[in-house]
């Protein structure tokens, strides 16, 4: 394996892992709140979280630039303050992967949480548990398999991210060139061996992910 290929794989795995961790921290609370609570703006939140799933990745990438780019809503003040911008850094790859994979986790986790018999939660309340403790001791443990299935799917999505990553992070070998981007470059430059290797790696990981997710999903039922 060439150095570039190795870097691409290493970077992809790092980005996907970080993105999945971030998604777990953001997505599980979102999923719980969307599943359980009625509040003003709930529909808006629901749509916002689902958008990256439906929009073309380059469109999402564009919005990311609008917000985080050097002249973006958040990016401009950041640049003025520190002289640093997130665009074209590894952090951008993580952010792009996180945003693109979030809807998958939220939807799957939310469905898992909603499928828990509400009487179980009510029973926990009558037995002295606050809403918070009920979520931790009853709802989430019972929804665990569904949530894990969601995390596995999110990991796979983060691993395969291309369009938004290219927009916000660019295609910089060693810094932001993840495996999907490396495949793209390799095909453009006609490096057949490189392509085959990278494609094989990604396909293998995707197959493992599918099997794992299916097993977890079945156990959740």
């Amino acid at each position: 394996m060439s150095q570039e290929a190795f870097d691409a794989v290493r970077l992809s795995v790092q980005v996907a892992v970080l993105a999945t961790v971030l998604n777990a921290l953001i997505g599980i609370p979102f999923a719980y709140v969307l599943a359980k609570r009625r509040f003003w703006g709930r529909a808006i939140l629901d749509v916002a979280v689902t958008l990256p799933l439906v929009l073309p990745p380059t469109v999402t990438g564009y919005y990311l630039i609008v917000v985080l780019g050097r002249r973006g809503w958040l990016g401009a003040p950041l640049y003025d303050l520190t002289g640093w911008t997130v665009a074209f850094t590894s952090y951008a790859a993580v952010i792009a992967a996180t945003v693109m994979a979030l809807p998958l986790l939220v939807r799957t986790a939310r469905a898992a949480i909603e499928s828990i018999d509400p009487d179980l939660e009510k029973a926990a309340r009558t037995l002295g548990r606050s809403e918070w403790r009920t979520a931790l001791e009853v709802t989430l443990p019972l929804a665990r398999n569904g949530i894990l299935a969601g995390l596995v799917l999110a990991f796979a999505r983060a691993l395969g991210e291309f369009g938004a990553t290219l927009m916000l992070a660019g295609n910089i070998p060693g810094k932001t060139t993840t495996v999907p981007l490396a495949i793209y470059t390799a095909v453009q430059t006609g490096e057949a061996d490189e392509v085959l290797l990278l494609v094989a790696v990604l396909t293998l990981i995707s197959c493992i992910v599918l099997v794992l997710s299916g097993r977890l999903g079945a156990r959740a039922a």
Binding site: D119, L120, T126, L127
Partner: protein
């Protein structure tokens, strides 16, 4: 003595209004009524799982809810035990862990001791480590009961505790439940739409109909002195009939019905004196209509009370009894469709009297068996 439960609440749902007020003392209060009449909703409000729109709920002197003062104690602070219709046992915990679930705030040794004690009392010692799904329906019910009782609640709430079981099991478990509840001696409120269940388990019966309470009384009063025609129908009483008052005294009522003049006993707890000509509902239990044997002539005409003549126009074999539909010889439309009275006779009597072949009968009803229903 202070009431265990003092409740007066309203709640508006789509297409349904709950507006109920009742009290219950020690012992078991049964909320009885058809499905959808608001019984389970009331129970959930008592538990804090649903919030009434207005009103007040006081349990054992503690104010659980008071809309006017903005009091609404959350469910986890009410110290009540709740047995759900489907038991709601935690599938990811063992039987022992389920039962100990409410005891988390106690020291470990005490928690284990208490859980052990509960399991032993309910005959669950052997299955402590099993998962709930491995248990039979009866065992699951006992686990649900044990889990609710382990925390020593002030009040026990049971939502159709026997509905999830098959009929033969239900009867056995009804007795077990009766015994368990009386052993533990906690005030309880139990919801059911099954009359036998209500009758066996209740000390007090609160009858629900379409979101309102239409009777609240002791068990015997409920069955023998339903407060209205509607209650009588909910109990499933047969021969709920309409007559006209001829004469009313504190002891006796004379009624005109289907060309007959019937004499009934006036209700002992109510000095009920309707005016002559007033409409009056009454019921006669089918098993209290006496068919007169033809080989034994009556000593005199006045010997049999409320004597009538009629013929059998329909019958059904119910195993140990026969249900007969009698039409009076009196001309005119019958009181209940094709027939006037439903009569129930034991199978033995049916055979001895050869009712299959002999359809014409005289029958009598004791005046104490004609139960008047105030409107």
């Amino acid at each position: 003595m202070e009431d265990s439960v003092d409740l007066a609440i309203t709640k508006q749902l789509e297409g349904f209004t709950l507006d109920v007020a009742w009290t219950a003392g020690d012992g078991i209060a049964v909320l009885f009524g058809p499905s959808g009449s608001g019984k389970s909703l009331t129970l959930r409000c008592l538990a804090g799982l649903e919030r009434p729109d207005a009103g007040r709920m006081v349990v054992n002197g503690r104010v659980f809810f008071d809309a006017a003062r903005g009091v609404d104690v959350p469910p986890h602070r009410r110290r009540i035990g709740y047995v759900f219709q489907g038991y709601a046992l935690f599938p990811h915990l063992s039987v022992g862990q389920n039962i100990a679930f409410g005891l988390r705030d106690r020291p470990r040794a005490e928690r284990q001791r208490r859980a052990q004690e509960v399991m032993e009392r309910l005959g669950l010692g052997d299955v402590a480590r099993r998962a709930p799904r491995e248990l039979s329906g009866g065992q699951q019910q006992r686990v649900a009961l044990g889990r609710a009782l382990a925390v020593d609640p002030d009040l026990l709430l049971l939502d159709e505790p026997l509905s999830a079981l098959d009929a033969p099991l239900r009867r056995q478990l009804r007795e077990d439940l009766d015994r368990t509840l009386r052993d533990w001696g906690k005030p309880a409120v139990l919801v059911t739409h099954d009359l036998s269940e209500a009758y066996q388990l209740a000390d007090r019966v609160i009858v629900y109909d379409r979101g309102r309470v239409i009777q609240a009384s002791s068990k015997t009063e409920f069955l023998w002195q339903p407060s209205s025609e509607r209650v009588a129908r909910l109990i499933g009483l047969r021969n709920v009939l309409l007559g006209t008052v001829v004469k009313a005294t504190p002891d006796r009522l004379q009624l005109h019905w289907r060309g007959q003049v019937l004499e009934a006993v006036n209700s002992p707890t109510r000095a009920y004196l309707p005016a002559a000509g007033a409409s009056l509902a009454f019921f006669i239990r089918p098993e209290y209509v006496r068919l007169i044997r033809k080989d034994r002539m009556a000593p005199d005409a006045g010997h049999h009370m409320n004597l009538m003549r009629g013929r059998v126009v329909g019958e059904a074999d119910q195993g140990t009894t026969w249900s007969l539909r009698m039409r009076l010889d009196e001309p005119g439309p019958a009181a209940q469709g094709e027939y006037d009275l439903e009569v129930e006779v034991p199978s033995l009597v049916y055979e001895i009297l050869e009712i299959k072949d002999d359809r014409q009968w005289e029958f009598s009803i004791h005046r104490g068996s004609i139960h008047v229903l105030p409107s």
